[in-house]
Symmetry: C2
Subunit: 233 residues, 2 copies
């Protein structure tokens, strides 16, 4: 019998990360889930991550604390900036400078200590139209750098950054996760969810999510603060 | 008159980082110094960093807090592992998994918010014989990744990772810094310095530093816990 491989899975508590966790488990990985408390305004996603980790029975779930908000520059961490309620052009104000790079770097540290060669991240096609650090060429460049940075890389044990949702639409992700048994009612995508995890229904993340369920023809289990907004596409 | 460029300088409080700060200032950069409280056992270096930042009159100095020690795997953060007192072969036990990648990533976040295109890091030739993330090919790969990761990179404003000590020996670094007026008495290199910043004299960092002063023919201003060790090469 082969020894199972270990993987570090970035678990934000959103829809995408819940799906990659189920995918990684489906591929036989022993999953170590990693969440970040980085001063984000949508803190309900951390509760969602903890619930998902328990429900999906990961071997361990850790929350890494850091105060990215100290640099400002994003509507997700800077109270002085408002979360946009319409889809704009270019890089959105909700982009957090270097967030994926920082999270992947920390995942890399844990993977190295665990002697794991796999990191799963839920970046996807819908996001990469706006966020530079969701694009396939970015993920590939991170992997190249990671294999030069680490002891494992130097010893020829290649680390692989798995981004299996990269080329899927929100609807396809929802269909995939549903087939894997993910309970999306537990997930929080909203950039300004309230402390009970109820969504605003109007930020970019809410719009993309709701449209995804609609296109996937799967009932949207999201809890909205204002029930009327749930149907207002 | 040109507007001065801003730079983020990784300031650990050691000899190398004090030198790059002086170098960056000499090149006319407005320097934003960044230190990390990551659960390292040699906490005296943080006091040294604060002293250096004041002495070298940086525009601001920030300390980013994170608990890398939570993953273990290094003698610098794991109390269960002893700091080696002889130079070994291969990657030393004092290597902290992904440390430089994590620090550069966080510097990248700050640089992006500051609209700065320069990050200075004091990696050097002596270190890169042992630490994978001190090698020139690693720094180059990080820079490539960074320019795909950021808003600035996407907009064509290239971020440059300056590692000007990369090809210098410890002795050359000390000669350079001395010519720039760096007060090395303020710096702490020892992996197990006491709370007053006094060095052990026997860890790798102490040995490399002492040998550097010796070869540079510059008096070693390091304060040792045991004065006898200072001369015991």
């Amino acid at each position: 019998m082969n020894t199972p491989e270990h993987a570090v899975v970035l678990l934000s508590g959103g829809l995408d990360s819940a799906t990659i966790l189920a995918l990684a488990q489906g591929e036989g990985y022993v999953c170590h889930a990693l969440s970040f408390d980085y001063g984000q305004r949508h803190r309900a996603e951390l509760d969602a991550a903890a619930q998902l980790a328990t429900a999906q029975k990961v071997v361990e779930h850790r929350v890494f604390h850091m105060y990215l908000a100290m640099f400002g520059g994003s509507a997700l961490t800077d109270p002085a900036l408002q979360v946009p309620e319409t889809l704009g052009v270019g890089i959105p104000l909700t982009y957090v400078p270097a967030r994926n790079t920082i999270m992947l770097s920390i995942a890399m540290a844990w993977a190295e200590v665990l002697n794991s060669r796999a990191i799963f991240i839920g970046v996807n096609a819908v996001d990469y139209s706006g966020y530079p650090d969701c694009r396939p060429e970015y993920i590939a460049a991170f992997e190249t750098m990671a294999n030069l940075a680490t002891k494992a890389g130097v010893e020829g044990k290649k680390l692989h950054i798995h981004a299996p949702l990269q080329h899927l639409s929100k609807a396809q992700i929802i269909q995939l996760g549903t087939s894997l048994g993910v309970d999306y009612a537990m997930t929080v995508s909203c950039y300004q969810a309230d402390s009970a995890g109820r969504a605003c229904g109007v930020c970019d993340a809410c719009r993309l999510r709701r449209e995804g369920f609609h296109q996937a023809e799967i009932a949207d289990p999201t809890r909205y603060r204002d029930p009327l907004r749930g149907s207002d596409l």
